[in-house]
C-alpha cells in the first residue's frame, strides 16, 4: 500500500476512535465508528491475499449492520426522548439493542463468531489492532451505557468468558486462540462493568498491555499455528523463556500482571455478595488458562517433535528483540507489585 494512503487510513483509524471517545452525541459517535470501520478495511485487505480480502469483506459486513442498528436505535431514542446524548439514554429497548450491536462490533458472545473467523485472515499486527484498538470505541460506548441493564451486561460477560474458554480449547491456530482470549477478556470486563466501571477500564488497559507483546512475539516469529511455536526456542531463546510467563499472565496467574484484574474483579464481586457469579467467572477462567498453558507447554517446555537440523539459528542470525517488545514485555509480566498505584490511578 502506498505509504501516503496508509498514513491516511491510520490517521482515520485514530481519529475515528477519538471522535467516538470525545463525542457525547450519538450521531458523532456513530460517525466515529463508521470512520473507524472504513479506515481499517483497506488496512485489513492490505496484502490482497484471498484470506485478507475475505476477512475485509466479512469485517465490513459485520460492522455495517451493527453500526446501522446503533444509528437506528439512536434515532429511535432521539425521536422518543428528543435528545442525542449518549449517557442520558433512557429508553430501554434501544439501549438493549445498542448493547447487542456494540457487543457484535467487539465480538462478544453470543455474537462473537465472526471474530476468530476474521482474525484468522489477518496478519498478526492487523490482528493486534483489531483486537485492541478497534474495540476501544465500542467499549467506550458500552462504558457510557453501563448504568442500566445489568442483567444483559452480566449475561453477555459470562457467556463471553465461557464461550471464550470453551472455544479456545479446541484450536490449533494461534490467531484463533488469541481471538478467543480476547473474547474472554472482554467478558471479564463486561461482567464487572455494572459494579465498577473503573475496574473495567483497568482490565481493558491491562488486557491491551498483556496482549500486545504476545501478538508482537508471534508476529516477529511468524508463528501462526501451534506447530510452529517450538521453533521459538531456536530463533529467540529469551522470548521462548518469557512467553509462558506472558501467556500465564494473560491467563491470570498470581505473580504476574494478569492476576490484578482477576483478583480485583473477584474481590469486588465477593464484597458485593455475588458469590455465584464470582465462582462461575473464576472457574470458567480455568478453561482459558488451559489453552494458555498448552501454548506455553508447546512453546517452551517441550522440544519440537520434528527434527530440525539447525538447533540454534539465533547464533547465526542474531535476532534483536525490538524495542517495543522489550518495553511491553516487562509491564505485561511485572505490574502486580504496582497494584496499589494502578488502583489509585484508575479507581
Amino acid at each position: 500500500m502506498n505509504p501516503i494512503t496508509l498514513s491516511m487510513f491510520t490517521t482515520a483509524l485514530l481519529s475515528g476512535t477519538l471522535i467516538t471517545l470525545s463525542s457525547t452525541n450519538w450521531l458523532m459517535a456513530w460517525m466515529g465508528l463508521e470512520i473507524n470501520t472504513m479506515a481499517i478495511i483497506p488496512i485489513i485487505a492490505r496484502k490482497h491475499h484471498p484470506r485478507a480480502t475475505e476477512a475485509a469483506t466479512k469485517y465490513f459486513l459485520i460492522q455495517a449492520p451493527a453500526a446501522a442498528t446503533i444509528l437506528f436505535c439512536a434515532i429511535t431514542n432521539a425521536w422518543m426522548t428528543g435528545q442525542w446524548e449518549i449517557n442520558q439514554m433512557s429508553t430501554d429497548l434501544p439501549i438493549i439493542l445498542i448493547l447487542i450491536s456494540l457487543a457484535f462490533k467487539m465480538g462478544m458472545a453470543p455474537v462473537h463468531s465472526w471474530l476468530p473467523d476474521v482474525l484468522q485472515g489477518l496478519d498478526l499486527m492487523t490482528g493486534l489492532v483489531l483486537s485492541t484498538w478497534q474495540k476501544l470505541a465500542p467499549f467506550y460506548l458500552i462504558l457510557q451505557l453501563h448504568s442500566t441493564h445489568s442483567l444483559t451486561l452480566i449475561l453477555l460477560g459470562t457467556m463471553s468468558i465461557l464461550v471464550g474458554g470453551w472455544g479456545g480449547l479446541n484450536q490449533t491456530q494461534t490467531r484463533k486462540i488469541l481471538a478467543y482470549s480476547s473474547i474472554t477478556h472482554m467478558g471479564w470486563m463486561l461482567v464487572i462493568l455494572q459494579f465498577s466501571p473503573e475496574l473495567t477500564l483497568m482490565t481493558f488497559t491491562l488486557y491491551v498491555t498483556m496482549t500486545l507483546p504476545v501478538f508482537m512475539i508471534l508476529h516477529q516469529n511468524n508463528t501462526l499455528s501451534i506447530n510452529k511455536l517450538p521453533i521459538l526456542a531456536t530463533h529467540t531463546p529469551t522470548i521462548s523463556a518469557l512467553i509462558p510467563l506472558l501467556l500465564l499472565s494473560l491467563g491470570g496467574l498470581p505473580p504476574l500482571t494478569g492476576f490484578i484484574p482477576k483478583w480485583l474483579i473477584i474481590q469486588k464481586m465477593s464484597h458485593l455478595g455475588l458469590f455465584g457469579l464470582a465462582t462461575i467467572t473464576a472457574l470458567s477462567g480455568l478453561f482459558s488458562l488451559y489453552f494458555y498453558l498448552r501454548l506455553s507447554y508447546i512453546s517452551s517446555i517441550t522440544m519440537s517433535p520434528s527434527s530440525n537440523l539447525t538447533t540454534a539459528t539465533w547464533r547465526l542470525t542474531p535476532n534483536s528483540i525490538p524495542l517495543g517488545l522489550k518495553t511491553t514485555i516487562v509491564p505485561s509480566m511485572m505490574l502486580l507489585p504496582l497494584t496499589p498505584m494502578i488502583n489509585s490511578l484508575l479507581l
Binding site: M28, E34, I35, I41, H48, W79, G82
Partner: protein, 173 residues
C-alpha cells in the same frame, strides 16, 4: 394522502421482502430500486420533501450504478424470479413475519413515539427537514465536516480496495 402513504409503505415492505428473498443479484437490485422509490414517497408523505428529493437523486445515481454492475457481473442467464418455489417460500415467510411484527408491535407501545415527527408538521414556518439542514450548516458545522470526511474516506477506501489492474474489486487474485 393516507392512501398513497399506505400503498408506499406496502410496496416498501413487500419490496424489502423480495430483496431479501431473491437469490440473484439481478432481481435483487431491481427490487431495491422499487423499494427506494417507495421510501422516498413515504418521506414525502411525512413532510420531508427536500430530503426525499435528495435521496431520490442519490438513489437514482447510485442505484443505477449498482444495477448496472450487478447485471454486468451476474453470470447466470436464467436468474431465479419470485415465482420460483424456494424464493416464493422465503418471500411468504418474510411477509408473514412482518405481518406478525406489525400486529404485535402496534399493540405494544414500542412505536408510540413515532408520531412525534409527524406532529411537528403543524408547527413552524419551514419544513422540518429544511430546519434540520439549516441547523447542520449553521450551528454544528463540525458535524458536516466530519460527515464529509467520512464520505471522502469511504470513497478512498473503496478506491484503495478496487484499484489496480490485476486485483479488481475485492476479488481474490
Amino acid at each position: 394522502m393516507t392512501f398513497i402513504m399506505y400503498i408506499a409503505l406496502l410496496v416498501m415492505v413487500v419490496g424489502l421482502g423480495a430483496v431479501v428473498a431473491h437469490p440473484s443479484p439481478y432481481f435483487g437490485s431491481l427490487t431495491l430500486v422499487v423499494v427506494s422509490g417507495a421510501a422516498c414517497v413515504v418521506l414525502i408523505v411525512y413532510g420531508g420533501t427536500f430530503l426525499a428529493l435528495v435521496m431520490f437523486l442519490v438513489y437514482l445515481g447510485g442505484m443505477l450504478v449498482v444495477f448496472a454492475y450487478t447485471t454486468a457481473l451476474a453470470a447466470d442467464s436464467f436468474p431465479y424470479t419470485l415465482t420460483y418455489g424456494d424464493v416464493m417460500l422465503y418471500w411468504t415467510l418474510y411477509m408473514g413475519l412482518s405481518l406478525i411484527c406489525y400486529v404485535k408491535c402496534t399493540v405494544v407501545g414500542v412505536v408510540e413515539g413515532w408520531d412525534l415527527f409527524e406532529n411537528w408538521e403543524e408547527f413552524g414556518i419551514f419544513e422540518s427537514d429544511v430546519r434540520g439542514m439549516a441547523l447542520m450548516y449553521s450551528d454544528v458545522g463540525s458535524l458536516l465536516l466530519i460527515g464529509g470526511w467520512m464520505l471522502l474516506l469511504t470513497l478512498i477506501a473503496v478506491l484503495e480496495l478496487c484499484r489496480g489492474n490485476s486485483r479488481g474489486a475485492l476479488r481474490a487474485v
